[in-house]
């Protein structure tokens, strides 16, 4: 029997279904399924919308204009206008928005993805990782469109762009790993505790305000230094990896600076750790997901 199983390589072995080491191989085998799911989502989302991909521009621009209106007219008097350099508020907000929206869309759709695709999970065998991963991949399309819009507006307003923008190829993978790790973890949890779906909504709304999305990190820093807020709150604030990630995006795209390295390192470590935990927990649970659907 021992010789037998060495000679014949099984196509499917129930024992290897919970092995974390198998994940990369399984994903390579299932890459076409992953692309299929991503394409299916993209096509289905935009095919029958008259404005199609324009929505990927309209949405952040509208939100940006709204926030711009709120901060420049409504709260102008109350909030001390810090020195934000020459970078206009419009691009600052847009830059925060597109990356935040990518993150929020990824995490919320990944969390619900297993339920959304339950007819696949209940009926077919394939590495389950592809489902939350596809949810983290397809919003990249929106992000790209938003990013191009941002660059166009930035060029119109500033007429210059720095080579340091290339840092996004380091920062974005960190954001991607963070989203993917969180997505895997939350989707696996959501199968067992449907409360997590609600928690994610609350958490993302909280995060939207508690991360430097529509205001720069400097505002928080300044507020704490001015003693209008306690100092420890700032340290708590930057524990959120999104604070560093979003700030670094602003630094490299809008300011043309090299990213803030401690932030970069910290967010990278947190993201890698979260991704690993996500993969581990997901893999240990994934083979029996169908029992809970």
């Amino acid at each position: 029997m021992a010789i037998d199983s060495q000679v014949k390589k099984p196509y499917y072995d129930s024992d290897s279904q919970t092995s974390v080491r198998q994940v990369p191989f399984d994903l390579i085998r299932a890459r076409e399924i992953l692309w299929g799911l991503v394409w299916r989502e993209i096509k289905a989302r935009y095919r029958y919308a008259v404005l199609g991909f324009l929505w990927a521009i309209i949405e952040p621009i509208t939100l940006m204009l709204l926030l711009l209106f709120v901060f420049t007219f409504v709260f102008k008097q109350r909030i001390p206008a810090p020195d934000s350099g020459e970078i206009p508020m419009a691009t600052q907000i847009l830059c925060g928005l597109i990356f935040w929206q990518y993150f929020a869309m990824s995490v919320s759709s990944a969390t619900l993805s297993l339920i959304y695709h339950q007819n696949l999970v209940k009926k077919l065998y394939f590495p389950r990782e592809v489902i939350p991963l596809s949810s983290v991949i397809y919003p990249i399309v929106n992000l790209c469109i938003g990013f191009i819009t941002l660059i166009v507006i930035h060029l119109i307003l500033q007429r210059s762009i720095s080579i340091n923008i290339l840092w996004i190829f380091i920062i974005f993978p960190i954001l991607f790993c963070f989203s993917a790790g969180l997505g895997l973890l939350l989707s696996a949890g959501h199968i067992h505790f449907r409360d997590i779906g609600n928690m994610v909504n609350v958490g993302l709304t909280f995060g939207f305000y508690a991360s430097p999305v529509f205001y720069p990190l400097d505002w928080v820093k300044t507020a704490c230094e001015n003693q209008s807020l306690p100092q420890w709150l700032y340290y708590l604030y930057v524990l959120n990896p999104m604070a560093g990630i979003l700030t670094n995006f602003r630094e490299s795209i809008l300011y043309g600076k090299i990213p803030h390295l401690p932030f970069l390192l910290y967010s990278a470590l947190i993201s890698m750790f979260l991704l690993f935990i996500g993969i581990y927990v997901f893999r240990k649970q994934s083979a029996t997901f169908s029992d809970y659907l």
């Binding site: 499917y12 072995d13 129930s14 279904q17 399924i33 299929g36 696949l120 077919l124 409360d195």
Partner: protein, 701 residues
């Protein structure tokens, strides 16, 4: 085992309680967890071990909730066993997931790619077969429309088409045959047959025990998560039927020596000889035809009301018809008798009743109505039932012969006083893969059966016969239809007579033999196409009557043999029910090719060689005046003379027919007086008065 494709080792599957707010408290909740109490889990599969080998068709049966679906899920990898291990050495596709993962907003084509990808196909592989998939689905014109515009039927079609072309090693089929229309189900069954033929492994779950029985090599029965294997397929199924409390519809009877057994099971009778099943899995069934719909007896609720060792009485009401069977089955020595009767619960029109006996393919020969025939092979392309013989009036029994001695010779007959019984013998389609013998009792429309009255409709008799009995029966059959002259035997066939030279026992007639033909409305009708009754004897005369199936005419042949003179006096009458224009008619004898010379009252000639390119009848006469006789002679062959007593009535003609018949024909062609046709009034007309005379060897010259 080397060729095990699925190995299932000590599998246990437990479903934990569902976690949620409520379950944090109470039994199985957090407090129990803290206290260390173990909670009761639902055990769906309990220590199951088996292997499935390459190329097998395995059925899984069991009650609802017995763990069938869980087992399939574990095999296909959808879920994991709690304990134990599953190894699968091949790609699995399940036909139950027709259209799983279809996105309603994507087009049919896009969904094919996606679905095939989920079933494990690479995009390039799909590119190769995409056109075939579209063709198979049969909805090419809608293929670029989003699938949410499809009907559910189209959805299933496209899903099935994809699953068919994914080409995995293992197919899992779960109740798929119960969805879709008749046509689709047939297509599925056919496809499953093909897959089996290609050596694919099929795991099959169904409640349709008949299909399981017909398709599977092995059957596993699941009972509350435990595996029960009763060896044979039918053994397991019988056990299952008992288990699900349908045992009241099952009873086994046998003869005293216990070598001939019959198992009655819910409207189906299976026969066993020396413990070997001699009927095919389809057994023996009754069929009620109502409004063109056939209702088989197994589609009913049955109850065995009387159980004896050698006999039983069972009552069954059909599910979809207010019709109640009562079967009285008994075995005496080597004869099984099934005496059916029925009653109606409502007054409905019954069109026909039928008994079908299904035998395995090993039965490959039959003898029916004087015809000894061989069954053709049942090929994968056979989609319908293929009859081997056409029914003959009055022929109510047949012999079935098997290729090996293990399967006894069977005589199957139906005894009834009702007219309208016909027997058909043939092959079923490829899925059934059986020989069938159908005893079909047509019920006239005028027949009105009263409600709740028991009508008895004859007896089906199945006899285990010996070779000797068969030979005796066969020769008796021949005797009954043979007229013996001194040197010639005349064998009465269906509307023709074959001449056999007794000395050599070789036929001297060929092709059409001795027959009559008519031209009506510009078309020729041979007496062979009439429906003939068995010949009977009246004094010294043989009477042979047949009826046209197309025109209101019937023929009566009267033969008066004069054995010593080798003479057969023949009279032919035609009875018509309405006035009729008979354009032409003749009596002909098709002789073997070796006949060389012919001679009439007026002239003589030779039968010339027939060139291969000849495709029509060619008259050899020069003188076409009516005459009294025509003689054909050949070397070492009896001289045959066709003569008439009616003066100036027939033109005696010698004919070389088309090459392929390889025959010589002598013919008496009726010549209408003056008029070019015969106007016949209603009544009986003498068409021919004359006969055939033979002379042997030294008598000649």
């Amino acid at each position: 085992m080397d060729d095990a494709i699925i190995e299932i080792k000590n599998i246990v599957k437990e479903y934990p309680l569902r976690r949620g707010f409520r379950d944090l408290r109470g039994q199985g909740g957090v407090l129990d967890w803290i206290r260390g109490n173990k909670t009761e889990k639902f055990r769906a599969l309990d220590n199951i071990t088996f292997d499935i080998y390459r190329g097998e068709t395995v059925g899984i049966i069991g009650k609802n909730g017995s763990g069938k679906s869980t087992l399939l899920k574990i095999i296909s990898g959808v879920t994991l066993p709690t304990e134990g291990r599953v190894l699968v050495y091949g790609r699995v596709a399940s036909l139950l997931e027709l259209g799983a993962g279809f996105h309603p907003l994507l087009t049919g084509r896009e969904n094919i790619y996606l679905n095939a990808g989920l079933l494990g196909m690479r995009r390039a592989q799909v590119d190769e077969v995409i056109e075939q998939i579209i063709d198979f689905s049969g909805i090419r014109e809608f293929i670029d429309q989003p699938v949410d515009t499809y009907s559910s039927g189209m959805y299933v079609r496209i899903g099935f088409a994809v699953a068919s072309f994914v080409n995995p090693d293992i197919f899992i089929v779960d109740e798929v045959l119960s969805v879709g229309d008749e046509e689709f189900q047939r297509k599925c069954r056919l496809r499953i047959g093909e897959l089996r033929e290609q050596g694919k492994t099929i795991v099959f779950v169904s409640h349709d025990l008949g299909t399981i029985n017909a398709l599977c090599n092995r059957v596993f029965l699941l009972d509350r998560g435990k595996l029960i294997d009763r060896g044979s397929v039918s053994g397991t199924i019988d056990f299952y039927l008992r288990q699900i409390g349908r045992a009241e519809g099952i009873h086994t009877i046998s003869n005293i020596s216990k070598d001939f057994e019959a198992i009655f099971s819910h409207g189906k009778v299976s026969l066993f000889y020396e413990k070997r099943e001699i009927t095919s899995p389809l057994g023996i069934e009754g069929v009620t035809v109502h409004l063109q719909q056939a209702h088989t007896s197994s589609m009913g609720d049955w109850l065995v009301t009387e159980r004896q060792d050698q006999s039983l009485i069972a009552q069954g009401s059909l599910y979809r018809l207010p019709f109640q069977w009562e079967w009285n089955v008994n075995i005496q020595d080597n004869i099984l008798t099934l005496s059916p009767s029925f009653s109606l619960l409502k007054e409905i029109q019954i069109q026909a009743l039928e008994f079908r006996i299904f035998l395995p393919e090993i039965y490959n020969q039959f003898f029916y109505a004087g015809h000894e025939g061989k069954f053709t092979d049942i090929l994968p392309g056979n989609l319908g039932w293929v009859p081997m013989v056409t029914p003959k009036v009055g022929e109510t029994s047949a012999f079935l012969l098997s290729a090996t001695d293990d399967y006894p010779l069977l005589k199957i007959g139906y005894e009834t006083n009702e007219p309208g019984l016909s027997i058909t013998i043939g092959n079923t389609d490829y899925i059934g893969r059986s020989r069938f013998i159908s005893c079909h009792l047509q019920i006239p429309e005028t027949n009105n059966f009263q409600m709740s009255k028991l009508y008895s409709i004859g007896k089906l008799k199945i006899t285990l016969a010996t070779k000797q009995q068969y030979e005796e029966w066969k020769s008796a059959w021949i005797q009954q239809r043979t007229i013996f002259l001194k040197d010639i035997e005349l064998r009465l066939g269906e509307g023709f007579i074959e001449f056999i030279h007794e000395k050599s026992m070789k036929p001297i007639t060929q092709a059409v033999h001795f027959h009559a033909q008519f031209r009506l409305q510009g078309m020729w009708f041979l007496s062979q196409t009439f429906l003939w009754q068995a010949p009977y004897k009246q004094d010294n005369k043989w009477i042979f009557e047949g009826e046209s199936q197309r025109f209101p005419i019937s023929l009566k042949w009267e033969f008066l043999p004069d054995a010593n003179n080798n003479l057969l006096n023949t009279k032919v009458w035609l009875t018509i029910n309405e006035d009729l224009v008979l354009e032409e008619y003749n009596l002909s004898i098709g002789l073997i090719y070796d006949y060389q010379n012919w001679e009439t009252q007026l002239e003589s000639g030779i039968f010339s060689e027939i060139p291969p390119e000849q495709v029509e009848y060619r008259h050899l006469n020069n003188d076409y005046h009516p005459s009294d006789y025509i003689i054909a002679t050949g070397k070492d062959l009896p001289q045959v003379q066709l003569f008439t007593k009616q003066k100036n009535m027939f033109r005696m003609t010698a004919i070389n027919p088309e090459y392929s018949l390889s025959a010589r024909i002598i013919q008496a062609i009726a010549t209408p007086e003056q008029k070019s046709v015969f106007h016949l009034s209603k009544g009986t007309h003498l068409l021919f008065d004359g006969g055939v005379k033979f002379k042997i060897g030294d008598e000649q010259n």
